[in-house]
């Protein structure tokens, strides 16, 4: 299953096919908040790859990385500087 999940996002119909469910079931999952989807228009949803993986292949999904420093130094002027483009090698 994990090897099939190679698209950045999916339509409800595609998720239904992958899951062996009816498309209306996937839509009900979306409306119930059980499956995350971005609504592009009244009838158009797109489900990100990760949300599909969480549903169909959760063992392939890594958890969030959380770092907390209760007393770490915060530079208040950092906010006034523009961020760098993340991929300078491009």
């Amino acid at each position: 299953m994990a090897t099939e999940l190679n698209q950045p996002f999916y339509s409800p119909a595609e998720v239904a096919r992958l899951a062996g469910l009816h498309p209306s079931t996937i839509l009900s999952y979306i409306h119930a908040g059980r499956l995350y989807a971005v609504k592009l228009s009244e009838r158009t949803y797109r489900i990100p790859n990760r949300a599909v993986r969480k549903m169909l292949a959760p063992e392939t999904v890594s958890p969030p990385r959380i770092v907390e420093q209760p007393h770490g130094h915060v530079d208040p002027t950092e906010a006034d500087r523009e961020p760098e483009w993340p991929w300078p090698e491009d």
Binding site: A51, P64, Q69
Partner: protein, 159 residues
């Protein structure tokens, strides 16, 4: 220039609840990383970001959200933010910011850098947004596959 009121959270519990909500939403797009610095101090930096595209997909975009909070009694007040969407495929960027700009404090503005152009210092007028409001718009833009379009934005007179 537009000045902002600032979001406030009444106590640490409210802050933690908001954090959990943000992580849950971002976790459906990619694997988020959170750096939360200063929760026991008067100044707090909240940095969460998520890259879109896990193996075997190459990274296609990054949602990078930073906030700076000041202690306000038992709670927190949002003073500055940077909500950035980097579209690697189109090499473009759309961002909602609130920070000091050209000698003015807490200026709300948008950065809009369409495809093919280098990062620019141009700023556009903006309204105050919450992180999740910005994310909803930016996530929809990413999922739609559309390139960033600055049409309709009004330049901010600081450049």
């Amino acid at each position: 220039m537009a000045l902002a009121r600032g979001l406030t959270l009444r106590d640490d519990h409210a802050f933690e609840q908001r954090t959990a909500t943000i992580l849950a939403i971002l976790d459906d797009l990619g694997s988020p990383s959170l750096d939360d610095t200063g929760k026991a101090d008067a100044l707090r930096r909240f940095h969460v970001e998520v890259d879109i595209g896990e193996a075997p997909l190459a990274i296609q975009a990054r949602f990078r959200y930073l906030e700076w909070w000041s202690r306000d009694g038992r709670g927190w007040r949002l003073t500055k933010y940077q909500y950035d969407y980097f579209d690697r495929v189109h090499r473009s960027r759309l961002a909602y910011h609130r920070h000091h700009l050209a000698g003015e404090p807490d200026v709300l503005h948008i950065h809009c850098e369409p495809s093919g152009k280098p990062p620019s210092a141009r700023h556009f007028r903006a309204y105050e947004v919450d992180l999740l409001e910005a994310h909803e718009e930016l996530a929809a833009l990413y999922v739609s596959g559309r390139a960033i379009d600055c049409a309709g934005l009004r330049p901010l007179r600081v450049d």
